[in-house]
Symmetry: C2
Subunit: 254 residues, 2 copies
DNA sequence: CGGTCTATTGAGCCAAATCAAGATGCGTGG
DNA sequence: CCACGCATCTTGATTTGGCTCAATAGACCG
C-alpha cells in the first residue's frame, strides 16, 4: 500500500488566500439557512447578538480559506456550497478528512493553529466570526456551547467510521461507503432507489478522501456500473439502483 | 491493500461484560488523579457534587466494558490503566481508533448508542457516571461542559491525524508515527533519547491501530531495530535512540 | 477548434497481505 | 524444578490488491 504521491501532487494547488468577496453583515434572523447548524439552537435576541460579530463571505471554487498550521483566530459557519477539509504531508500527499456543507461549523480546534486546511470545492458562502469576538458570545449563551459539543461529538463518530474505512476496508467497500454516504446526506435513511444525486467533488478528491488513487476510484466506479448497481451521468451525478446491495458492500458483506 | 481478516479474527474475543469490581464511592477531592482530565477543571464543592454521581470500578485486562452499539447510558473517566477503543465490521475486521489512559473521558457519543467499543488492555480503573445523573451536573457547571468541548476538539485533531496516517502513510511511516506518539505521551515534546518506554498493547493491537497486519508490524519494528533507530526489550519496552530520525520518518521525510 | 483539465482504461509492478514454520515467553501443575 | 500447553512474536516464501506508468477519450472554454 504505497502512498499515492501523484494523486496528491497532480492536483493543481489552488492559489493562495486572496481577499474573498464580502457581502456585509446581514441579520442572522432572516438568514436563509437559519434552520441549519448552530444557528438553529438560538432564539431571535441571541441571533441578533451573534449577527453583531458575523461577516458573510463568498469563496470562489478552489480557494483555500483555512491554511493548515495558520493562526486559528477565526471561526466559520458554512451557509452554502461544499468544502473539503484536509491534512497534508510535507511531500504533498494529502488526506481529505471530510466534505462539509450547509450548517457545518468550522474551526473548533482549541490550539493556537488550525490542524487542517479547508478549500472551497464549488462556490461557498460562509459566516465568518473572529475568535476574540465570538468567545464572549459563546460564554453568554450556554445553549450555543452545548450545540458545539454535540456537533463535535457527531464529527468524532464520523471520524471513527472513516478510520475503520481507511484502515480496514477494500477499495470496493470504500467507494460503496462513499456513495452510501452521499445517499444518506441527500435522503436520510430512506433509500430512494433510482433518484439522481449530484456531487461536486472530482475523482481526485474522492481518492484523497478514501485513501486511494484516482485510477482505482475510476475503475471501481466502472465496476459497480458494469454490475448494474449504479448509473453515472456527466461524471458528477449518480443514481443508485440497488441501495441495499450497495449498503451490504459498504459494510463488507458484499 | 486487502483487509486483514486474520489479524482481527485470530485475536481471541475477550469474554463479555461481566460484573466488574466496584470500590464504592470515594470522594473525588482526594482522588489520586484529580489533577488529570475533566476533574482538574473543578473546585472542591463542584467535585463534591460530581462525587455524588460517580462510582469507581476496576476492569480486568481483556474485558470489554463498552459494547459497540449498546445503549449509551453511562459515561466513564479513566483513572488508571490503558483502554483500547475500536470499531468492527460484521466479519470481524477491527480498527482500533485510539488508546486512552488516565484522565480520558469516554462516552461523548450524543446518539442513543455507543458508536465504538472499549476494552481494557491491562487492569483499568474507571469512574463511572450514569448519563441521567451526570447530565444535570453538567448543566450546573458550565466549566465542565467547556472542558468536555475542549477535550472533544483535541480528540478530533488526533482523529484527523490518524486519518492521514491510515490513508496516506507507508507501513514504516505508520510504525514510526506510533512510536513517536508513545514518546510524546511519555515525555511531551522533549525527546529524551535512550529512555525506556513501556507499552501494554500487543502487536495485534498495534496492527489494528495502524491498519496493518501483525507480521508487518513485527517486520517493521525489526527493521528499525536493525537500522539502530530503536532497541526493544521484552517485546513491550522500547528505547528510541534517535528521536529526530524517527520523527522525520513519521512525517514521510525518512 | 486547439488547449487544458478531468476521467477512463490497459499493462506491469511492488508493498503489504497471506500462508506457513519456528521461536520465545509464560503460567500451571506434576 | 522442569515439562507441557498456549499465546504471542518473529521470520521466510509466496500471492495479490491497488499503485504506477502510459495512452486515450471526453468535457469545457475561450
Amino acid at each position: 500500500m504505497p502512498p499515492s504521491l501523484t494523486s496528491a501532487i497532480a492536483t493543481p494547488r489552488p492559489r493562495r488566500l486572496v481577499v474573498a468577496g464580502t457581502e456585509g453583515c446581514a441579520t442572522c434572523a432572516i438568514c436563509e439557512v437559519r434552520a441549519n447548524g448552530i444557528c438553529s439552537a438560538l432564539n431571535d435576541p441571541e441571533l441578533e447578538r451573534l449577527a453583531q460579530v458575523a461577516v458573510k463571505v463568498v469563496i470562489p471554487p478552489g480557494q483555500i480559506f483555512i491554511e493548515e498550521g495558520a493562526r486559528a483566530d477565526e471561526f466559520f459557519n458554512v451557509t452554502s456550497g461544499t468544502v473539503k477539509l484536509f491534512k497534508s504531508l510535507p511531500d504533498g500527499r494529502r488526506q481529505i478528512t471530510g466534505f462539509v456543507s450547509v450548517g457545518h461549523f468550522l474551526g473548533l480546534a482549541v490550539s493556537k493553529t488550525y490542524a487542517f486546511g479547508a478549500e472551497a470545492i464549488d462556490q461557498v458562502r460562509l459566516c465568518r466570526f473572529s475568535r476574540t469576538r465570538l468567545d464572549p458570545v459563546i460564554n453568554e449563551i450556554p445553549r450555543l456551547e452545548r450545540r458545539l459539543l454535540s456537533e463535535a461529538a457527531n464529527e468524532l463518530v464520523a471520524a471513527q467510521e472513516q478510520m475503520l474505512l481507511l484502515g480496514r476496508k477494500t477499495a470496493r467497500e470504500r467507494v460503496a461507503s462513499f456513495l452510501q454516504e452521499l445517499l444518506e446526506k441527500e435522503y436520510g435513511d430512506s433509500p430512494a432507489p433510482g433518484a439522481w444525486i449530484s456531487f461536486p467533488m472530482t475523482r481526485a478528491d474522492i481518492a484523497d478522501y478514501l485513501g486511494l488513487t484516482v485510477e482505482t476510484v475510476s475503475r471501481t466506479l466502472s465496476g459497480l456500473r458494469r454490475e448494474g448497481l449504479i448509473t453515472v451521468r456527466n461524471g458528477h451525478e449518480i443514481s443508485i439502483i440497488t441501495p441495499s446491495r450497495l449498503h451490504a458492500i459498504a459494510r463488507g458483506e458484499g
